[in-house]
Amino acid sequence: MREASEPGQPNDEGGESDGVDRAPRADSATGSGGTFRSSAHAAGRPILSVRDVSKAFGAVHALQGVSIDLHGGEVHGVVGENGAGKSTLVKIFGGVHPPDSGTLVDADGHPLVLTGPADARDAGIAIIFQEPTLFPDISVAENVFIARQPQRRGRRIDHRSMQRQTRALFERLGVPLDPDRVARGLSIAEQQIVEIGKALSFDAKVVVMDEPTAALSATEVARLFGVVESLRDHGVAVVFISHRLEEVFAICQRVTVLRDGQRVLSAPVGGLTASDLVRAMVGRDIAARVHEHHAPGAPVLRVHDLSRAGIFSDISFDVRAGEIVALAGLVGAGRSEVARAVFGIDDYDSGSAFVGDRQLHKGRPIDAMRAGVAMVPEDRRQQGLVMDMSIADNVSLASLRALARHGLLVGSIERRFAADWAARLHVKYSRITNPATSLSGGNQQKVVLAKWLSREPTVIIVDEPTRGIDIATKSEVHRLLVELSRSGVAVLMISSELPEVLAVADRILVMREGRLVDELAHADASEEAIMAAATGQATVPAAVEVGSA
């Protein structure tokens, strides 16, 4: 397939060793012009530059003074941990978010103001999302040309021309796709190809791919790489965002590492090793260690060979009484999916889960709850709380059966119960009858915790317990989790924040692409070791392969 592309111009300047330009963490003010002069690129001037761009969401600095130059005929990798600012960067390129400060600069040195997706398209920038949103009911050719269909006399759509052009686009990409079939049922890989075809149809100069390979199989990745090479050979600047470092080395000429919204490294890949990248990606401020060593009890939650086709496979682990086990890994590794399967929200194909000696029925959360399992979901607004209901109602929601007197609920008992638990968790509220919307994010999370802790569970699963809440509340939640485990509860925590994992967990399980790939004791764990396992770089000798039988 790859042979279909025309022989391209030489484009391996990336291999020239011109030294790693490791930017100090706050050099943004100096601008990018000087920073990149040394990179001696054949294409000369970049076709698109990000200059000193910052973007904040509330108190969170998603990007801080980031500068990146994109050259035609070059694939530019962008890597970083979860939350490093990659997605925000994509949205800046796509015109979804305007930067708070800093600019995009086009090939002629003119600043580019993007106020919406249409602007980005007009500027020749195309975004390929991890999971594209095509119109499922209409044909592939129409998806490429929607609202821009070629017309013939009388403004009628020229179906034949549209089909011919689409076919030509796919031939240029070296991928055989039938322009006439409907988009429904296309694999994600094929949908991406359609999006790339769309990008080519309006002559995109810059194609930004946001983790395009996350959901692809090995053969599909190979085909996508063929397409990326063909784009590169046609002089397109490709931004390739990926969690998989081996892919960055396989396809990119240059790589930029983001950490906490800042550019920490930007260099040709030629002079770098995987461990250079891992080292640049980690090293965030370590949260105060609240971990204390203590001997855990007997296994309470036992999971055996849990598999779900295409999502996760052969997952086996135990969580002991009084132990906090963290499931670490990159977004999309299947951590939440495992938790949801254990709790019975999602189905699974094979395997089993036990609490004590009791096997949990699959697909029945009520059964897991009766067995003493509680689950604090990832998205508290959508899944954890009924936002329009009162704080009291939210707290008591999972305990209504216990609270009922002769089958009837009494408001005063409910409120007293809720107030009691809210006090224990230090929830700050003005009235217990106010709606959950009146609380801050951190306090909302405490209400979710209160709701489940009030059931006095023996196993609690917490998914991203501190996402989007302020630092003070974060450490409160951490302390709470440790106290819980101290009281004999088995805690399974999913977290994308490595400092949090290191601060709280007794044992760390690392997942990658639906499998458990590593298990680290608290004493052996470091951010580097976790990231290496999560990205598939076996750079750490201590890495122990588990569960991949």
Binding site: L134, F135, D137, I138, R156, P176, D180, G185, E220, G310
Partner: protein, 346 residues
């Protein structure tokens, strides 16, 4: 519909694709197959069923429902619904038929234009509130259902348009035939063909599918959603207005309750005809066929000798069958594709 032009392609995993194509084709041809079986069984039981008179009756009955169903289908394609069509037909029927009483000797063409006008006004109001005011169409058209019916009741009062006030040339319209086929059926067939062509051949027509398929993506693609949805409601209103005049010719005696509940029969026809209830897929030809199928069921039950009491229940069952089948096929398809990807994957 996707055409048959599929050149052989190396490497492409075709099994799953074929599956998708087969399913999508099955949806359209399914109605025709069911129709065929129905006609066959009815004919075997009662040969009178395939006689000219019976077929003419079915076709002229279908014409009215099909006309409204075409408009409804356009609206449903955009992920909206128009519940007001029954009321529009009723109002238009009364206002247009009443013209003969108030303006004796008025030309029939003019009466049709009056009906069209009534429909257009209703469609503009509904469309404006829904598209520009961004109010869910379910609520708007439910309100319009009552408002238009209310206006109808106020205008009609306790009055009735009687057949005696209408000229025979008007009342004979449903009986007129060309080569044995009712004129109204031919006229509606032309409307269906024109609308089908427009939906297929103009950007604005394709936009309707895109809007129903994924409204957010449509917005991102720069499609003027409000304008298109507004137009859809105006067309639906206009076609209902014309259908109202046909209703008047068919039933002659018009009260304020004329065509009450028609909207549900029409939506049933549209859905049975393969238009997805959440928009984005289907065709007006399918919607018209759906109307024909429901009408044929009515007639065949009648001919076979099953009490008309059963027809509504059977229409309902058919509706559930159509939706369940559609949903089942889609779930099965998704599961098959997921399994396939796993097999090919790493």
């Amino acid at each position: 519909m996707s055409t048959a032009e599929q050149q052989p392609q190396e490497a492409a995993p075709t099994s799953a694709r074929r599956l998708v194509d087969v399913v999508l084709r099955a949806r359209t041809f399914g109605i025709i197959a069911v129709l065929g079986v129905l006609v066959l069984i009815s004919a075997l039981i009662q040969s009178r069923f395939v006689g000219g008179a019976e077929i003419r009756f079915i076709l002229s009955q279908t014409a009215l429902y099909a006309l409204v169903a075409v408009g409804e289908a356009i609206v449903i394609l955009t992920r909206n619904v128009d519940l007001s069509v029954g009321s529009v037909v009723g109002l238009s029927a009364y206002v247009s038929a009443n013209m003969f009483g108030t303006h004796p000797g008025i030309s029939i063409v003019l009466v049709f234009l009056v009906g069209l006008g009534v429909g257009l006004v209703c469609g503009v109001v509904t469309g404006a509130i829904t598209a520009i005011g961004r109010v869910p169409s379910l609520v708007v058209t439910l309100a319009m259902l009552y408002i238009i019916r209310g206006v109808d009741t106020i205008i009609v009062g306790s009055g009735v348009v009687l057949a005696s006030t209408e000229p025979n040339s008007f009342l004979n319209i449903p009986q007129a035939t060309v080569l044995g086929i009712p004129d109204v059926a031919l006229a509606v067939a032309v409307v269906v063909a024109v609308v089908a062509y427009c939906l297929n051949s103009f950007r604005s027509g394709r936009d309707l599918y895109a809007i129903g398929s994924d409204p957010d993506a449509a917005r991102r693609a720069g499609i003027p959603i409000a304008k298109r949805v507004f137009t859809a409601f105006v067309i639906s209103g206009a076609l209902s207005g014309v259908a109202g005049v046909i209703w008047a010719a068919q039933y002659a005696t018009i009260e304020s309750t004329a065509a009450t509940g028609l909207e549900l029969q029409v939506i049933a026809a549209v859905v049975v005809g393969g238009v997805a209830i959440f928009g984005g897929s289907g065709s007006v030809v399918g919607a018209a066929l759906g109307a024909l199928l429901l009408q044929t069921i009515n007639s065949s039950l009648n001919v076979i000798g099953i009490s008309s009491i059963w027809t509504e229940a059977i229409s309902g069952l058919l509706l559930i069958a159509a939706i369940t089948l559609d949903r089942g096929i889609q779930l099965r398809l998704a599961a098959a594709l997921r399994k396939r990807r796993v097999r090919l994957g790493a």
